[in-house]
């Protein structure tokens, strides 16, 4: 019910829908305040018992009023109606109810509640075991739960961002405003975050004066000053969700939850790095546990005042107030001043006096509520035990306030109990660089908050080396906080603690009785505090009940662990930009466009995209294209972009010594103008990578790495150079992106280059030669190296010429009966030649395993040498690289298949090795494979059985040398 003339929001009308009905609200309303203004208070059903529920609070701690906002793939489940702002066209609906919130068939759970106590699932669904997965769990999952995701990809945009400041102020109530103002006037860079859409905190919800004006007017004046300062950033709708190491804070900004679809992202996840921070997050009010305290219409007194003073909405025509502090009387005064009937104020303090024209029951308790879909009456017990009933539409209750210590505890610190305010408060220093102030630190008067906020800012300024002086604080209320503990009202029936997970006082007592006495055990046994609200309203009360049941003090019982995030953060916001194409960077070669124009399907190679094969008209399978490309290279000439291999330019007087140390073989003895194949080990003796390195000058080398390991090798070289051999005078840098490099392979490669290069004399370019060349006037490099086994070259030019050189090479190759070849053909040709890739050097193989132990020079030390000499790594029974050809009826060999001796059962104990690479060789017209076989080098000619259990293959094959084609290398050397 809206009260004319009340509230701080304007009169602009907005239309929205809830559960199919159209309603009018006002700009500035939350969904909860707008529905309450329309006298709708049943907004949800509870998690377990499907009890009817209305809003309990007016903030982000709301446990009950969870709704689904939006439709289709854009729907957002479990949105707190107390946070969601209404706008024209908002569509929301209730959840966890079928067919509707007012008639929900699952409410039968409520009648079954005697059987659904804490630990019910553990006790009931134990047996039979097989029923759990098939029957119990699906049924329970369907019955329980909150809102559901759409199951479709989320089409909304999210964003992430970074910010830096001297001082981060968390919360913009009186404390935060004062802290931000003081720090900003002192010249610090300030970020002020508040989760609400409007700054001011409780000043927007209370009748409270600061400096002789209404609190919200004072707040607006402060904000006006802050808005005009360049060193201040005000961030509304931004919840600081976590405190992390070294002054890093996570924060979620709701960018577009409060307006219709548009170009903006839905939310933005901020990482804020602050030299200092002030936690001015305020306090959260505690409900009181009594029988049927969960009826719609029962809400915290602070929420009642917020709805009334900020949104001009009365929770009912008549409201009973129940509490244990002077806030109880503040609530009664506000309600009466707004014309709401207050039948009675129940104050559990025996010395309570009326502070206005209303009746007070001192030392009394509300013991029960009644009503159908909401509260219609409450029953009150006087101090002497006499019962009295009061008709009312709402109950405003307060068990006192809990400082919002959450962020202070995110680095595993535990808060301390303060007996005077009956609540936990942060200890200083729990988060380095962060100070709690105001209500978050247990200071509840407005004056105290202003003073605290100012002091926290002055301390921060002083830490930051800035001089600042305290201004005179505006006068503000400074009444003491007088509280008498009030957690759970004794009596029969169910009294709710955790409204969201339906945990009652009985459940906590039962946990204690069944010896789940530790607070962490009680939590897990009852699910107390494990819902999306993380027990913001209920944890401390549950602790108090547990403490009482176990005969301990609250401080002795301790709290559970506070973990980020403070409020739920969508994964989509944290991972913004990382979905789909944004998952990983994409690297494209200079020939990418040309390859795609030829219709080549691209495959990923690390972050790179490389052509798989180049289909010609009439070719319907990849094999047809691949076989043709292999024959083309073997018979004529083929072109392949090999720019993706890592290229590292190494220079310095000690470059040779450096390479001698990282490679197993010698490079300092390599002649200028020559290239050598090198093998690199890890320090544990296993192979890290291989590739060729060219000596371009006396102090100048160019190393190539495999595509996949380029980053790792660079990191390794940096480590060796900086951490192991800083004495060596050598510098290196990656030039992978700077050079476009193409393989020109095949018997006609020489002929192709003769027409292309300026002044090319083939005799000057023997096998493994390298050096500078000129390509149609462009300076480039030529390497006489081969990964195909053919007479071949690799030609490199600066990347900006890559595209045109590639097209030129293809055109010239085509006139010679050649053309482009892709990764499939490249792979077939290297298998035919027994060249290894990371399929073979997969991290567990040694130089010995791949038959390269002679490449480990005994003339020098190198990385991995000592450990590679361990007897176990030289054992002849190790699995060694072999070639395999099928010789039985099954002509298929598959990578990943295991090898067994013929006649032995194919089980792990009999394992002889495995296949790493396989292909069909059009050159040899047979299937080929590379693999590792125990003592394999001594077993050439043997028949061995291949079993692929995954694909159901069982083939007999012959062991042979891994080099299937041209074992003497006459073609590539010739």
């Amino acid at each position: 019910m809206r009260i004319p003339g009340k509230g701080l929001i304007d009169e602009t009308q907005v239309s929205f829908r809830f559960d199919g009905h159209a309603y009018e609200g006002r700009a500035g309303d939350t969904l909860a305040s707008a529905l309450l203004a329309n006298d709708v208070r049943l907004m949800a059903r509870s998690f377990k018992y499907h009890r009817p529920r209305g809003p309990l609070t007016a903030g982000s701690e709301e446990p009950n009023a969870l709704v689904t906002v939006g439709e289709g793939a854009r729907r957002d489940p479990n949105v707190r109606a107390t946070v969601q702002e209404v706008y024209d066209g908002l569509v929301a609906r209730s959840q966890n109810a079928f067919p509707s919130t007012s008639f929900d068939v699952m409410a039968v759970n409520d009648l079954l509640s005697p059987f659904l106590s804490a630990g019910f699932y553990y006790k009931t669904f134990m047996w039979p075991r097989a029923f759990w997965e098939k029957l119990y769990e699906p049924v329970i999952r369907r019955a329980a739960g909150l809102g559901a995701l759409s199951g479709e990809p989320d089409p909304d945009q999210y964003e992430k961002a970074f910010a830096f400041c001297d001082l981060l102020v968390i919360g913009a109530g009186p404390t935060g405003l004062m802290a931000a103002l003081t720090a900003a006037r002192g010249g610090a860079d300030v970020i002020l975050c508040d989760e609400d859409n409007r700054m001011g905190g409780r000043l927007l919800a209370e009748n409270e004066e600061i400096g002789g004006m209404p609190g919200h007017v004072w707040a607006e004046e402060v904000l006006d000053e802050l808005r005009d300062m360049e060193n201040v950033r005000l961030m509304t709708r931004t919840t600081v969700t976590g405190a992390y190491d070294q002054g890093t804070y996570g924060a979620l900004e709701r960018v577009r939850h409060h307006r219709p679809r548009g170009p903006l992202p839905k939310s933005c996840f901020w990482r804020i790095v602050a030299k200092r921070a002030v936690l001015a997050a305020g306090a959260l009010e505690r409900p009181v546990a009594f029988r049927n305290n969960d009826r719609p219409g029962v809400m915290t007194a602070g929420a009642t005042r917020a709805y009334l003073n900020r949104w001009g909405v009365a929770a009912g025509k008549s409201v009973v107030v129940f509490g244990n502090t002077d806030d109880t009387h503040r609530t009664a005064r506000d309600l009466i001043a707004a014309g709401v009937h207050v039948p009675v104020v129940v104050d559990n303090r025996h010395d309570a006096e009326p502070q206005g024209d209303y009746r007070v029951i001192a030392g009394g308790h509300v013991v029960n509520s009644s009503g159908r879909r909401g509260v219609e009456a409450v029953e009150v017990a006087h101090a002497n035990g006499r019962r009295e009933s009061f008709a009312c539409e709402s109950l405003a209750m307060s068990g006192g306030w809990n400082p919002s210590v959450h962020l202070a505890c995110h680095m595993n610190g535990r808060p301390v109990w303060n007996d005077a305010i009956q609540a936990f408060v942060p200890k200083p220093g729990m988060i380095p660089g962060m100070t709690a102030a105001g209500a978050a630190n247990g200071t509840f008067s407005t004056h105290g908050c202003l003073e605290d906020g100012q002091q926290a800012a002055l301390d921060a300024l002083s830490d930051l080396g800035r001089k600042a002086e305290a201004d005179t604080l505006p006068p503000a209320g400074d009444a003491p906080y007088r509280i008498r503990p009030l957690w759970a009202v004794p009596g029969r029936g169910r009294a709710w603690l955790d409204f969201q997970n339906d945990v009652t006082v009985k459940d906590v007592k039962l946990a204690a009785q069944e010896n789940f006495r530790s607070v962490e055990h009680m939590k897990r046994y009852t699910t107390q505090g494990m819902a999306t609200d993380q027990g913001k309203n209920s944890n401390v009360a549950a602790l108090a009940v547990l403490a009482d049941a176990t005969g301990r003090a609250i401080e002795e019982t301790g709290t559970t662990t506070f973990r980020p995030p403070y409020t739920p953060v969508p994964i989509a916001a944290m991972g913004a930009g990382g979905g789909g194409i944004g998952f990983a960077p994409q690297r494209f070669t200079t020939s990418d466009a040309a390859a795609r124009q030829s219709g080549a399907p691209m495959i990923e190679a690390g972050l790179w995209y490389r052509p798989s094969y180049f289909p010609k008209p009439g070719e319907t399978t990849w094999r047809q294209s691949c076989d043709r490309e292999v024959r083309m290279v073997r018979d004529a000439v083929g072109i392949c972009d090999v720019s993706t291999l890592g290229k590292i330019d190494i220079q310095g007087p000690d470059a040779g010594a450096f390479l001698d140390f990282v490679y197993t073989n010698m490079f300092s003895t390599l002649k200028v103008g020559r290239t050598r194949y090198g093998l690199m080990l890890r320090e544990d003796g296993h192979v890290m990578d291989d590739g060729t390195t060219a000596r371009l000058g006396a102090h100048h080398y160019l190393m190539t790495t495999t595509t996949a390991a380029a980053g790792n090798v660079m990191k390794h070289l940096d480590f060796v150079s900086q951490a192991l051999r800083p004495d060596l005078d050598v510098r290196f840098t990656s030039v992978t992106e700077q050079w476009a490099q193409f393989a020109v392979a095949g018997p006609k490669s020489r002929e192709l280059l003769q027409g292309l290069l300026d002044a090319f004399t083939p005799e000057d370019w023997p096998f493994m030669a390298c050096g500078d060349i000129s390509v149609m006037g462009v300076k480039g490099r030529l390497f006489r190296i081969s990964f195909s086994g053919e007479h071949a070259y690799e030609i490199a030019v600066p990347s900006r010429y890559g595209d045109s050189l590639y097209r030129e090479l293809i055109a010239r190759a085509e006139t010679l009966g050649g053309g482009a070849y892709g990764m499939e053909a490249l792979n077939v040709m290297r298998i035919e030649k027994g060249f290894i890739t990371h399929a073979e050097i997969h991290g567990r193989t040694t130089a010995f395993d791949i038959g390269m132990e002679r490449m480990v020079s005994d003339k020098k030390d190198c990385i991995g040498k000592t450990m590679s000499e361990r007897p176990g790594l030289m054992d002849p029974m190790r699995e060694q690289l072999v070639g395999l050809k099928p010789v039985g009826a099954v002509k298929q060999l598959t990578a990943g298949a295991h090898l067994y001796n013929a006649g032995e059962e194919p089980v792990r104990e009999n394992d002889q090795g495995y296949i790493t690479s396989n292909c069909y060789s059009p050159t040899l017209d047979t299937v080929l494979a590379l693999g590792f076989l125990k003592n394999g080098r001594a077993r050439h000619g043997e028949k061995i059985r291949m079993v692929d259990s995954l694909r159901g293959l069982d083939a007999l094959c012959e062991v042979c040398d891994p080099v299937f084609l041209d074992p003497k290398g006459e073609k590539m050397r010739g």
Binding site: Q246, R271, F719, Q722
Partner: protein, 87 residues
């Protein structure tokens, strides 16, 4: 977490790649024997408290940095270039 690169200044942890204990700096002589090499390559302490470990500023200047920090509180006490820690 924030780490101060001696070259680039204070940076977010995501610019760095963790490697392991700074033991890796003290590479034994090839003839130091099996035990020394076993310690160097395989054996690592797992302390709750102060550690010295190696981070690579992969998203920055490529410096290898020795970070002295506390694994319990995550406090960073000191950072220095591996190159200089070695010298």
């Amino acid at each position: 977490m924030r780490i101060t690169c001696p070259i680039c200044g204070e940076r977010d942890i995501r610019e760095f790649t963790y490697q392991g204990a700074a033991v890796a700096l003290d590479r034994p002589d090839p003839e130091a024997g099996d035990e020394a090499w076993d310690h160097y390559v395989h054996l690592r302490e797992n302390p709750a408290g102060r550690t010295r470990d190696l981070w690579y500023h992969s998203g920055g200047c490529s410096a290898w940095v020795v970070v002295t920090r506390d694994t319990v509180t995550h406090e960073v006490f000191d950072t220095e270039l591996a190159e200089e820690a070695k010298a």
